[in-house]
């Protein structure tokens, strides 16, 4: 065998290798089907915020306020002030602004009222998430009020800006 023949054989072998290797490689390259996805992160709705307030007589928040009874007082020609401490607890998942109103002024002018958070009025007080605060509900009975039984309704609500 002369050298020219070897050359032809070597070149042919090289050519075959050049073609065969990519063909074989491609044969072994497996692909999954194509899954079109718009994004790699799936967004879900966040949990719905909860808003709830609690009213208690004690700082341990164990005795819920159902009614606010000032009991019986004797007619007097001097003004009388009565007050109750009520703990308000934020039992929701967001900071809440507290508001209140009352039907007392429509019931009588002989008794006036206020509801405070320390020295500040309770209205517009912001109560943070999972916090509670002592508040004072206070009434003043004017001198020589009409005797009798007085009933009124206190309404409290919270607002949360989301």
């Amino acid at each position: 065998m002369d050298i020219g023949k070897w050359k032809i054989l070597a070149v042919s072998f090289a050519l075959i290798c050049c073609l065969a290797v990519p063909v074989l490689a491609y044969t072994y390259l497996w692909r999954t089907p194509l899954y079109p996805l718009s994004a790699g992160i799936i967004l879900r709705d966040p949990p719905a915020p909860t808003m709830q307030l609690g009213f208690y007589w004690d700082s341990a928040l164990t005795q819920p306020v159902t009614t606010i009874d000032f009991g019986e007082i004797v007619f007097s020609t001097s003004p009388i002030m009565l007050e109750k401490t009520i703990y308000i607890s934020n039992e929701g998942s967001n900071a809440t602004t507290i508001f209140w109103n009352s039907t007392l002024s429509t019931t009588t002018t002989a008794i006036t009222e206020e509801w405070t958070n320390g020295p500040e009025p309770l209205n517009s007080t912001v109560l943070g998430y999972y916090m509670y605060m002592p508040t004072t509900y206070r009434i003043w009975i004017q001198p020589s009020p009409p005797t009798g039984t007085y009933n009124w309704t206190l309404t409290v609500w919270g607002e949360c800006y989301l």
């Binding site: 808003m51 007082i73 009975i141 607002e159």
Partner: protein, 100 residues
Amino acid sequence: MLSLLLVLIIVGSSLSFVVAYQYVWRTELYKREAGLRIRPLIEGDINADGKVDQFDLRILATAYGSTPTEPNWNLSADINGNKIVEVQDLFVIGTNYGKP
């Protein structure tokens, strides 16, 4: 041109208020009943003049049978606080009549 701008500003601000309002969440309304009774020194002394007499009886007679929604209602005449001026209130006056 100026009026158009003004209209746009008004509409825009109204819209933003409406949108902002959508994001205010309110809790339920928590209603609590409050009350007290102011009683006279002597039960039945409706006018609180220190004695149970004909004047108290007259006030009760005027309010007799009334409830809080009626024009002749008198809170003081409802001695037992059951929201109606009735015979039980009259009994209280009768029991203490003449007491100073």
